[in-house]
């Protein structure tokens, strides 16, 4: 059942994987029968079970599913924060570890994870210091990316002086600052109120269009997933697995919040909901 669904998803997916020039887009992440079990006192927990998925360059892929479906774990495997116990995975053509060491991705956590003893500018420069960029370059990058997330003028503020939404924008700018091709986002707006979340969703799409990054985005909000994504990967728990992959090519790439009232949008949202329900009935 699981394998069938995945294979079907992959097949259904193939024709649409083309970029603007009509060429088949380059695959940036490949996963084949990826499994991960955590050993616990009682019995092993299968966080991921035989996940196969390709993500093309320039894609905006959302992983959606209920708690415990392994969506965050999958993201952490891509980031080499967890190791898969079986299966193959390459990121940017490298192993996850090699890709991490090459600083091939930027990661945005659910919490902003800003250092309270650093002001906004110096928080943004943290990865740049670690990479060892010269001072002028660090300052220039901080200015550029703060401007990109609309926070010019807040350079000298400390995190506690910013709202939650602003803090998360700093953390996105920080992930972009060292210019990785891949952006991994783990429910970045999960802790924010609906209005702020809508606003940041629009901004994130603009950023994505401007920078051409590949984004893998974990969420448990259906409207958020449909609004942002080019593809939605529906997952279900126990064991964590992919049950359906939904293509959003029906929606235009240029999007605004009005899109959420259109029949195409509602249709995709319905498909996602169906997918989630199917995953639950499996239990």
């Amino acid at each position: 059942m699981t394998e069938g669904a995945v294979a079907e998803g992959l097949r259904a997916d193939q024709p649409s994987r083309r970029d603007a020039t009509g060429q088949a887009a380059e695959t940036i992440i490949t996963m084949r029968e990826l499994s991960l079990s955590f050993r616990t006192a009682e019995q092993p927990v299968h966080a991921l079970s035989e996940v196969s998925l390709d993500i093309a360059r320039g894609d905006f892929v959302s992983l959606i599913g209920p708690s415990g479906c392994g969506k965050t774990t999958l993201l952490r495997v891509i980031a080499d924060l967890e190791r898969a116990s079986a299966g193959r995975i390459t990121v940017n053509g490298l192993s996850p570890e090699a890709n991490r060491l090459a600083r091939g991705y930027g990661y945005v956590f659910q919490a902003p994870a800003l250092y309270p003893w650093r002001n906004v500018e110096r928080n943004l420069q943290l990865p740049l210091e670690i990479i060892g960029l010269p001072k002028e370059e660090r300052a220039a990058r901080a200015r550029r990316y703060l401007e990109m997330v609309g926070l010019s003028g807040f350079e000298k503020k400390y995190p506690w002086q910013l709202s939650g939404g602003m803090q998360q924008r700093v953390s996105i700018a920080r992930a972009l600052s060292f210019e990785p091709k891949l952006l991994l986002m783990d429910e970045p707006f999960g802790a924010l109120d609906e209005i702020t979340r809508d606003k940041l969703n629009v901004e994130l799409l603009e950023l994505w269009a401007r920078t051409g990054k590949t984004v893998v985005f974990v969420t448990h909000s259906i409207p958020e997933a449909v609004f942002l994504s080019t593809r939605i990967v529906v997952m279900s728990p126990r064991p964590g697995r992919v049950t359906r992959i939904i293509d959003c090519a029906r929606l235009p790439r240029e999007r605004n919040l009005d899109l959420r009232e259109t029949p195409e949008f509602l249709e995709i949202a319905h498909e996602v909901r169906e997918g989630l329900r199917a995953g639950h009935s499996y239990d």
């Binding site: 991490r100 991705y105 994870a113």
Partner: protein, 312 residues
């Protein structure tokens, strides 16, 4: 409540105003209460001796005479605060500070041992904590010994340290500083182990996504995160470092230092001198803790304001 408000102010030096403003009245009230109790205690404790003296002289005495005499004895059981204050004035301001009779001279002798011991002990504590946090074997092997070291009574081990070091030809400041160090490395080590471990998994994961090396994780995350813990333990450490230096002076028959002053005072029944040395020691301790607190405020203000520090 005042505390919370003061913490919320971003400027670190705002805390200085706090000592002058909201706290002056409660502090003064407590001080007055202590002085009143002290004077009453002096009468109560000195009265038997005073009465005995009056009776031996076959003298008539009123209760007013009793009080006046109890507050002005030469060798009272408990000297009155003004007697201690006069002794302090005499030995601090009216004596050349190079003189052996100057309390400033004795305080300096103790202070120098305290500071050397404090610096050495803090460094030792920080190094031990860094080792314990980074090496699993040290965590298991060293931490129990660090804790056990403090169950040995310092009064028992201090003379041994002095004798052993004396045999090695080390006398004077160093044995006292080592006793100070022995006492004060402990809170620093314990505080820093907690402080260096205070970064959340999330912050450590973030460093991992940047492929930061161990040294970068230490200097950019663990060390700054531990600073509030460091200063909290340094305040404890500097106070017991002073205790260590004074205890180090007691068993050695030291000729200088506040400990020596306490010792000679008790040989000759000079209670006023003992109390003056005690007051001096506590003033010194308060000044040291205040200095560490000031360093804390300045450091935390330079690195993100008092709020971040208070929150952690």
């Amino acid at each position: 409540m005042t505390d919370v408000l003061a913490q919320a102010r971003p400027a670190g030096l705002a805390g200085l105003g706090r000592l002058g403003g909201g706290r002056a009245l409660p502090l003064a009230t407590v001080l007055l209460a202590i002085l009143a109790l002290w004077y009453a205690g002096a009468v109560y404790l000195n009265a038997p001796q005073v009465i005995e003296r009056f009776e031996r002289a076959h003298q008539d005495w009123s209760s007013l005479d009793l009080v006046a005499a109890a507050w002005s004895m030469e060798r009272p059981v408990l000297p009155a605060p003004d007697q201690v204050a006069m002794e302090l004035k005499k030995t601090v301001f009216d004596t050349r500070i190079t003189s052996k009779r100057s309390l400033v001279y004795h305080a300096w002798v103790t202070l120098s041992a305290t500071l050397v011991g404090f610096v050495l002990g803090s460094l030792l504590g920080i190094l031990l904590a860094v080792g314990v946090v980074h090496l699993r074997t040290l965590d298991r092997s060293l931490l129990p010994w660090i804790i056990a070291s403090q169950t040995v009574p310092i009064l028992a081990i201090a003379p041994m340290i002095v004798v052993v070091l004396g045999n090695l030809g080390l006398t004077g400041l160093l044995p006292k500083a080592i006793i100070s160090m022995y006492l004060c490395f402990f809170p620093v080590a314990i505080g820093m182990v907690k402080g260096l471990r205070s970064p959340e998994t999330l912050q450590l994961d973030l460093m991992r996504t940047y492929s930061a090396g161990a040294a970068q994780v230490f200097w950019k995350l663990r060390w700054p995160a531990s600073l509030p813990f460091l200063f909290a333990s340094l305040k404890v450490a500097v106070a017991i470092s002073l205790v260590g230096a004074i205890v180090g002076e007691l068993p050695t028959g030291a000729v200088a230092g506040l400990g020596a002053r306490l010792l000679t005072g008790s040989y000759y029944g000079q209670t006023v001198q003992i109390w003056a040395a005690l007051v001096m020691a506590s003033l010194l301790g308060m000044a040291l803790v205040f200095a560490v607190g000031l360093a804390e405020r300045l450091t935390l203000r330079a690195t993100g304001g008092a709020v971040a520090g208070a929150d952690r």
